[in-house]
C-alpha cells in the first residue's frame, strides 16, 4: 500500500503531451456538456422525446456520466503509454523501484 518516497517526477518528459491530450479531451466533453445545458435551457420539451423505452433526458444524462468514465479510462491509457514511451518507464514502477 505504501509506495515510499516520491520519485523525481518534475522530470516527467511526457507532461507536454499529457497536458495537450487533457485539454482536447476537456474541450470535447465541455462541448457535449454545453449541448446538454443548451437543450435543457432552450428546448426542454426535446428532452422528453422518446428514445427506446426511455427519453432523451435520461439517455443524455446517463450518457454524460458514462462518457466521462470512458474518457477517463482512455486518457489514463494514453498517458500511461506516453509515460512508458517518453520517460522509458511508468511512474509507479519507478516508485516501486525506489521504495525497494
Amino acid at each position: 500500500m505504501h509506495h515510499g518516497p516520491a520519485t523525481d517526477w518534475s522530470k516527467d518528459k511526457a507532461a507536454p503531451f499529457k497536458t495537450r491530450v487533457g485539454i482536447w479531451m476537456f474541450v470535447l466533453y465541455a462541448v457535449i456538456y454545453i449541448g446538454f445545458i443548451l437543450i435543457n435551457t432552450f428546448n426542454p420539451k426535446l428532452m422528453g422525446s422518446d428514445i427506446g423505452g426511455l427519453n432523451l433526458a435520461t439517455v443524455y444524462g446517463f450518457g454524460l456520466i458514462i462518457f466521462a468514465l470512458m474518457l477517463a479510462f482512455v486518457y489514463n491509457a494514453i498517458c500511461s503509454a506516453a509515460e512508458e514511451e517518453i520517460n522509458g518507464r511508468l511512474d509507479d514502477e519507478a516508485d516501486e523501484e525506489e521504495a525497494a
Binding site: 507532461a15 507536454p16 465541455a30 435543457n40 420539451k45 423505452g53 477517463a72 511512474d91 516508485d95
Partner: protein, 659 residues
C-alpha cells in the same frame, strides 16, 4: 416523531468506535507536517480515489439529491450530472499540474510562480470561506440525521459530529481523515447498490404499503356538490364543510367528522365534476397547546401535537403502466424497465400551499398527480419551459447553476488537498479516475433511490432530506440502520476533509507563510491541530445556528464561490504565461466577493431576510454565470495592466504543465 431502533443505535456506535480506532492507530504515525497535512504523501492511488469519493459524496449528495429526485424527479438528477461532470475539469486540467506545483495546500500551487504575500492571503481566505460555506450544511445535515436515528435533539447531533471530527482530525490529520473517507466512500457505494437492488426487486405497486407493517394511508376522494351560490357540501356523508380557503388558484376545504377536522383539496375528476382529495397538513399554532406529556407544542401534524404524531410520509403511483399495459404491481424489474415504467405511469407527488385558519398558519400538503413523462424530464423544479411561464432570467439561472457545478469541483480546496496525499502526478491522475468511477456509479444510483422513494410512500413531505434512509427503512430496520450510519459517516468524512483544508490554510498558509512565523515542523503540526479544534468549534456553532436551512442550498453556494474565486487563478496560472501576481490576487478577490455579493442580493436570500423576492436587485439565484467570467476577465485585464512587472514563468510552472 421518528421511532428509534436499537439496531440503528448499535450499528452507529460500532461505526463511530471503528472510526475513532482508525484515528488512534494513525495518531502514533503522524509526527511531521507532511504526515499531518498530506498523510505523508504516500497513500496508494486506489485508496486515495475512493477517499476522493468519500470527500465528495457529502450530505448534499446522498441526502439532498435523493430527496430532490424524490420530490421533483429528473431535476434533482441534474445535480448528479453536474457534480460528476465537474470531475472532468479536475482530471484533464488540474490533477497532475496541481500535484507537481503544491506541497500541502491549494495556496502552495497558486503561489508557486510568484511567492507573493497577497496570493497567500487571498487563497487562504478563499479556502476558509469556501470551507465554511461547505461546513454549515454538513453540520445541519448531521443534526437532521441523528434525530430519527438516535432520537437526540438537533443541537446534540451537531455537537456530537463536531466532537468526533475534531478527534479524527486533531489526532492524525489527513492520514486518519483519508482512511475514514475511504471506509465511508466504499460503504456508501456498496450499500447504495444494495438499496437499489432491493428497490428494483420490490418493483412498482399502486398500493405501496400493501406488504408492510405500517400500511400506506388511503388518501380518500369525496364527491361534492357545488351550489350556484358557491356553497360546498358533501352529500350522503358524515363530513361537514366548516371552512374554505384559497391559496392562489388552489382551493382547500376544512371538513369536520365526529369532532375530528381535516383539510382537503377541492379539484375536479376526469369528467370535470368537483371532488375533494384528502391532504396532509401542518398547523403552526398562534397559541401553543400542551401535549399528553405536559410539553408545550406549537405545531400540529394532521391535528396531533408534533411530539405525538408520526412523520407525514407519502408518494404513490396512481396509474401504473408496465410494458405498455396498465397493472397494479410489477416485481423484480431491470434498471431500464423501472425507468420506462415510471415514465409511462402517473405518480402522485405532494405539493404544498400555505393558508390561514383563524390566527393559525396551515401548510397543506396536497396530492398532485404528475405524468411520469414530466417527472422524467426537466421542468418540475427548474423553470426552463417557456410554455409554462419560464422567463429568460429563469433559464439563465438554471444555466448558471449547471456551469457552477461543472466548474466548482476542480476548485474546492478540500478536494484539491487530496492531490498531495499521493506520491506522483500519475498517481494523482489514477486516483481521480477511481474517484470518477465510484462517484459516477453512485450518482447513477441516485436516480433509482430518489424515484424509489417517490413511488413507495416514504417521502417525508415536510423534509425530503431523509428520503433515501426512509426508503431503506421501508425495506427493513437493518438496512435503515446501516444506511443511516453510513449517512452519518458521510457527514463525518466530508467535515473531516473540510477541517483539514481549513487548518492547513491557517497553520501553513497564514501562520507559516503569510505571517512568516517560520514554524518548525513540530510546531506546524501543533498549530494545525489547534486550528482544527477552533474550526471544529466554529462549525458546531454554525451548524446549530443554521438549523432548518436546506442542505443543498449552501453547497451550491460553496461551488459557485469556489469556481469564481479559485478556478480562474488555477487555470490561467497554468495555461497563460501572461498571468501576473496582481492579476491572480485580483481574480481571487473579485471572483470571491462577486459570488458572495450576488448571492446575498439574490431573490432566495431576500426571501430569507423576510423581504419580497421582487425587491432583490439581482434576479439570479445562482451567481456563476456572472462571477466566473468576471474572475477570468479581472485576471486578464489586471495582468495586462501590470504585465511589465511580471516575472518570467518559473521552471517549476513550465514543468508542471509542460507547455
Amino acid at each position: 416523531m421518528y421511532e428509534t431502533s436499537g439496531w440503528a443505535i448499535a450499528v452507529f456506535i460500532a461505526f463511530v468506535s471503528f472510526v475513532l480506532w482508525i484515528s488512534y492507530h494513525f495518531a502514533r504515525r503522524t509526527k511531521t507536517a507532511k504526515g499531518y497535512f498530506a498523510a505523508g504523501g504516500h497513500v496508494h492511488w486506489s485508496v486515495n480515489g475512493i477517499a476522493f469519493a468519500g470527500d465528495y459524496l457529502s450530505a448534499a449528495s446522498f441526502l439532498g439529491i435523493c430527496g430532490m429526485i424524490a420530490t421533483y424527479g429528473y431535476d434533482g438528477f441534474l445535480y448528479s450530472i453536474g457534480y460528476l461532470a465537474g470531475w472532468i475539469v479536475a482530471l484533464f486540467v488540474v490533477a497532475e499540474p496541481m500535484k507537481r506545483l503544491g506541497k500541502f495546500t491549494f495556496t502552495d500551487a497558486v503561489d508557486a510562480k510568484f511567492n507573493s504575500k497577497g496570493i497567500q492571503l487571498g487563497a487562504a481566505l478563499s479556502t476558509l470561506i469556501v470551507s465554511t460555506f461547505y461546513l454549515i450544511p454538513q453540520m445541519v445535515g448531521a443534526g437532521t440525521l441523528v434525530t430519527p436515528l438516535l432520537g437526540l435533539p438537533h443541537w446534540l447531533g451537531v455537537v456530537m459530529v463536531g466532537a468526533i471530527v475534531v478527534i479524527i482530525v486533531a489526532t492524525a490529520g489527513m492520514a486518519s481523515t483519508t482512511y475514514v473517507q475511504f471506509l465511508k466512500g466504499s460503504l456508501l457505494v456498496v450499500f447504495s447498490m444494495a438499496l437499489v437492488i432491493v428497490t428494483l426487486y420490490n418493483g412498482l405497486n399502486t398500493r405501496p404499503g400493501e406488504d408492510r407493517r405500517q400500511p400506506y394511508p388511503e388518501f380518500r376522494t369525496l364527491p361534492v356538490s357545488l351550489a350556484e351560490d358557491g356553497t360546498l357540501s358533501v352529500p350522503d356523508s358524515p363530513f361537514q364543510v366548516v371552512a374554505r380557503q384559497a391559496s392562489g388558484k388552489l382551493e382547500f376545504a376544512k371538513l369536520s367528522n365526529d369532532n375530528h377536522t381535516s383539510w382537503w383539496r377541492l379539484t375536479a375528476d376526469a369528467e370535470g365534476k368537483p371532488i375533494l382529495t384528502e391532504a396532509y397538513w401542518v398547523t403552526r399554532l398562534a397559541a401553543p397547546v400542551t401535549d399528553s406529556a405536559g410539553n408545550q407544542v406549537s405545531a400540529l401534524y394532521n391535528g396531533k401535537p408534533i411530539t405525538e404524531s408520526k412523520p407525514l410520509q407519502a408518494g404513490h403511483i396512481e396509474t401504473l403502466v408496465y410494458q405498455g399495459e396498465k397493472t397494479d404491481k410489477a416485481h423484480n424489474l431491470g434498471m431500464l424497465e423501472f425507468l420506462a415504467s415510471v415514465k409511462e405511469s402517473t405518480i402522485v407527488r405532494f405539493a404544498k400551499a400555505t393558508i390561514k385558519d383563524g390566527d393559525d398558519a396551515v401548510t397543506v400538503y396536497y396530492q398532485n398527480p404528475t405524468s411520469g413523462r414530466d417527472i422524467m424530464r426537466p421542468g418540475l423544479k427548474f423553470k426552463v419551459d417557456e410554455s409554462r411561464g419560464a422567463t429568460w432570467l429563469d433559464r439563465m439561472d438554471f444555466a448558471s447553476l449547471m456551469i457552477a457545478l461543472f466548474c466548482g469541483t476542480a476548485a474546492l480546496p478540500h478536494i484539491l488537498i487530496r492531490y498531495y496525499t499521493v506520491p506522483t502526478p500519475s498517481a494523482a491522475r489514477k486516483s481521480t479516475i477511481v474517484a470518477i468511477a465510484a462517484i459516477g456509479l453512485f450518482y447513477m444510483l441516485t436516480l433509482f433511490m430518489g424515484l424509489g422513494a417517490m413511488v413507495n410512500g416514504v417521502v417525508d413531505v415536510t423534509d425530503d432530506n431523509m428520503s433515501a434512509p426512509l426508503l431503506a427503512k421501508s425495506f427493513g430496520i437493518t438496512l435503515f440502520a446501516i444506511i443511516s450510519a453510513i449517512a452519518f459517516a458521510t457527514v463525518l468524512g466530508t467535515v473531516a476533509g473540510l477541517i483539514v483544508a481549513a487548518s492547513g490554510a491557517v497553520a501553513h498558509d497564514l501562520m507559516d507563510r503569510f505571517l512568516n512565523m517560520k514554524l518548525s515542523d513540530h510546531n506546524k503540526v501543533v498549530a494545525g491541530k489547534a486550528a482544527a479544534i477552533v474550526v471544529g468549534g466554529i462549525a458546531i456553532l454554525l451548524g446549530i445556528s443554521f438549523k432548518g436551512m436546506n442542505v443543498s442550498f449552501l453547497v451550491g453556494w460553496a461551488f459557485a464561490v469556489a469556481a469564481s474565486a479559485n478556478l480562474p487563478a488555477i487555470t490561467m496560472l497554468l495555461f497563460w504565461k501572461g498571468a501576473t501576481k496582481q492579476g491572480v490576487i485580483a481574480a481571487i478577490l473579485v471572483g470571491m466577493f462577486a459570488a458572495v455579493g450576488l448571492i446575498l442580493l439574490s431573490p432566495d436570500m431576500f426571501e430569507r431576510y423576510g423581504l419580497p423576492r421582487t425587491s432583490a436587485p439581482i434576479a439570479l439565484n445562482n451567481p456563476g454565470i456572472i462571477s466566473i467570467p468576471l474572475g477570468y476577465v479581472t485576471l486578464v485585464l489586471v495582468s495586462l495592466l501590470t504585465r511589465r512587472k511580471a516575472p518570467e514563468p518559473t521552471a517549476l510552472v513550465q514543468e508542471a504543465v509542460g507547455l
